[in-house]
Structure formats: C-alpha cells, structure tokens
C-alpha cells in the first residue's frame, strides 16, 4: 500500500456513521474509498453545499467542488451561500476536517497556508475549517522530501490556527492529542518506534496501548 493510500485508509477509521466531513484537496479526497460499507458520511464542500458525491456521468452545470472540478451529489443535497457555508464550518457543525500540513507541532498548531517568500497561495477556507471543526485531522507524509521533520516542537511557518489539531496521520504513525499532549497511539505496519522517534522532532509520549495500525 503506498503512503497516500495508507494514510487515507487510516483516517477513514476516524469517521463515524452520520459524520459531516470536509475533505481538503489531494490525499483527503481518497478517504471515502476506504470507509466501511456501513459508515455513511455527508461531505461538506466549502464553496456551498452538503451532500457532495463523486462525479457520475456527464458534469452538470455549476456542480463543482471546492477545487473547481465537476463532481456529483447525493439525494438530499443542500446548496447555500458562502456565509452559510462558513456558519456551518465555524459554528461547529462539521464533525471532522481532514487536510494536509506543511508543519504540525506538539501544541496542536498547524501550518499549511504559506511559505514566506516562496509560496503564498492564501488560506482559503483552511483557517475557518481548522478553527471550527470538531475534529481536525492532519493527513500528511511524515517528513519532507529532504527527510526533514514536519512534526515539530514548534511550527516555524506561519500558523493556520493555534492549538486546534486533534490527530495526525502519516505513513509511519498515528498521533492523537490527549489532554493537550501529543500521544503516539499507532505505528504503521513494519515501522519501529525508533524510526518514528528519529523522524519526529516533537516531544510526544508513546501510549501504553500503542499498537500496529489495523488496515483494511
């Protein structure tokens, strides 16, 4: 299983039947493929609807996701304007948001919207999502392409939101914030505690229940 699929598969286990979920672009969009058949989630799209589904057949007029791509919708979909979309997001009506990260730290801070002087795409809806969603799950590769740590003592890049991350899923490990502390709860198949320690700059504790990920 490649890194992205492994991460998507693990994050899927965090979602419960009936959850309202906003998935960031890229890796998070793979997650629905890994949901058990008895878990039905409602996808929120920040451009203004609840009930997003995969594209089936020809694109329909004005039916696009937050990445501007044609998509589908399920029976019982509801469209609304951007103020309502973010009332839902900021107001705690989204059970989980899953999004990528450039850096995450042991305080639950996330940085994923700019690299000063290099890449400044803007925060889009990410700051509201990370501030308002009940669960904030960062789904990302464990280290940078150069092998540098992305899970840090303290983010160096500008923050998306302070202290809001609830879990981190990588191809090596699954961490959860428990009572404000970063806790390693699962290791990926074949990955040792030492390898995770070596590739993680943050201070964290290893859960007494720490075990290997169960992947479907």
């Amino acid at each position: 299983m490649d890194a992205k699929k492994l991460i998507a598969s693990r994050v899927a286990q965090e979602l419960k039947d009936g959850d309202v979920v906003n998935l960031g672009i890229g890796l998070p969009t793979l997650i629905p493929d890994y949901l058990p058949t008895d878990v039905h989630i409602t996808l929120q799209s920040e451009n203004g609807f609840l009930g997003m589904g995969p594209l089936e057949g020809e694109p329909l007029p004005d039916l696009v996701n937050a990445g501007g791509k044609a998509c589908g919708m399920v029976p019982g979909t509801a469209f609304f304007d951007s103020a309502m979309s973010f009332a839902i997001i900021r107001g705690g009506h989204v059970d989980a948001t899953v999004l990528g990260g450039l850096q995450v730290d042991q305080e639950g801070n996330l940085a994923n919207w700019m690299v000063p002087g290099k890449m400044i795409p803007g925060m889009g809806g990410a700051m509201d999502l990370v501030t308002g969603a009940k669960q904030v799950i960062v789904a990302m590769e464990h280290a940078t392409k150069d092998g540098g740590a992305k899970i840090l003592k303290r983010c160096e890049l500008p923050l998306t939101a302070a202290g809001k991350v609830t879990a981190i899923a990588t191809e090596l490990a699954f961490f959860r914030f428990i009572d404000g502390q970063l806790v390693l709860t699962e290791t990926a198949p074949g990955v040792s505690l030492d390898e995770i320690r070596a590739k993680t700059a943050a201070d964290y504790v290893v859960s007494p229940d720490c075990h290997a990920m169960k992947l479907s």
């Binding site: 501007g68 979309s85 400044i120 308002g132």
Partner: protein, 220 residues
C-alpha cells in the same frame, strides 16, 4: 422584454471608472459573470481593487483582469490557482490582502447589512490577527473583523425576473447573494430573465430591490 433594470451589456460602461472597487461573485470562476468581466476588460479601466473569493486562473473568471494588469489590489482568500497573481504580488506590482474565506464572507455581509463588523475566532494566533482589535468573552479570543463594501458588485445568476429577483444554481451561488447587499451599484448577468411572478416568492435568493442592472448572458 426590456425593463428599466435590463440593459445592454455595453451600458455597464457608464458605471465603470479607473480606481474603482469591484466585488465579483464566483468561486474559481463558477458563479462569475463572464460577460460583464469581458466588458470591464474591453472598457480598459485600470487601478482596480477587486474583492472576491479567489482570482481563478490566468485566463478564466476574474483572472483575465489580473493578467491584463488592470488590478492594483486584491482582497481575497486564495490566489494559489492563479500563478500570475502570485507573480505580480512577489514583483510588487499588485497588493494582495489575504482574508480567511469565512471572514471574507462575513465582512462582505456586514458591509451590506449596516454592521460594523463581526467577532470571529478564525485567525487568532496567526498572522491574520496583526493590527486588529481583539476581544475576549468567556475565555475565547475573537478578532474584530470589519465590514467591507465596494463601488460595484458584478454577479452571476441563473434566473432573474424583471424586478431583479434572483435565483442561483448549484455551487454558483457562493458569494453572489452577499455581494448583492454590499455595493453601491449591483449588476447581474443572468442566463434568463423572466416576468415578475414567474419565480415562486419563497425561492428568491436575492430580492430584486438590491439589483440595479440586469444583463442577459450571451451563453445560457
């Protein structure tokens, strides 16, 4: 059928001038009024401040005004899909004010609703809080985010009636209904224009009194 509100596309020009601020509906081009944007481009006005969710792509939606260097300032949540906006920003040719998307929606809504601003937790502890008033209630910090208005709003509707009542379609709604409240002049491009009474009053998404000019879309 022509009414007082329905105008030819070119008639929008008398409401255009250098240096003006323009709010544009749309999310990556979906729900942006292509015909009106083309008219603004053809009119040659410059030094614009544009306000909207994103700057689309260099050759789509509002992006064409950026590519043609008509824009002095952008107030937006995202420019990542338009490399030309990023290039001009880094070159110092364009000023970019990045605003969290939900905050942008609220600021525009406030501008149209007589509200001075809102208190939002979004942006607390980030660069976004710089220079802003912070208030704390019940242990939660909020930023005071202020109202935003523009000289002109350009919107895209699916159906309009001659009084200006609007219905949007699917994800093309996005910022359009908010901007209808928040500009001195509101121009709407619609796929069709019907007689008053043809839209069920419960289904109107923007009341006609907010709309100043209706332009029939060339496409549909």
């Amino acid at each position: 059928m022509h009414t007082e509100k329905q105008i030819e596309r070119s008639a929008i020009r008398k409401h255009l001038h250098d240096g003006m601020s323009i709010m544009f509906g749309g999310f990556l081009g979906s729900g942006s009024p292509k015909g009106i944007i083309q008219e603004i481009l053809d009119a040659g006005i410059k030094d614009l401040t544009i306000i909207g969710n994103d700057t689309a792509m260099p050759d789509t939606g509002i992006g064409v005004l950026v590519s043609a260097k008509r824009v002095k300032k952008v107030i937006t949540s995202h420019i990542g899909t338009n490399a030309e906006t990023g290039r001009q920003m880094i070159a110092g040719e364009i000023e970019v004010e990045l605003v969290p998307q939900g905050t942008l929606a609220e600021r525009i809504r406030c501008g149209g609703s007589g509200l001075g601003g809102v208190l939002t937790p979004t942006g607390v502890g980030t660069l976004v809080e710089e220079g802003k008033t912070k208030l704390s209630f019940d242990g939660v910090d909020y930023l005071v985010e202020r109202a935003l208005r523009a000289d002109l709003a350009i919107l895209k509707a699916h159906i309009a009636d001659e009084k200006g009542n609007l219905v949007y379609r699917r994800a093309a709604r996005n910022f359009n209904p908010l901007m209808a409240l928040a500009a001195d002049f509101v121009a709407v491009e619609a796929d069709s224009i019907v007689a008053p009474g043809e839209i069920d009053p419960d289904l109107v998404m923007t009341p006609g009194i907010l709309v100043d000019a209706l332009i029939l879309s060339g496409e549909c």
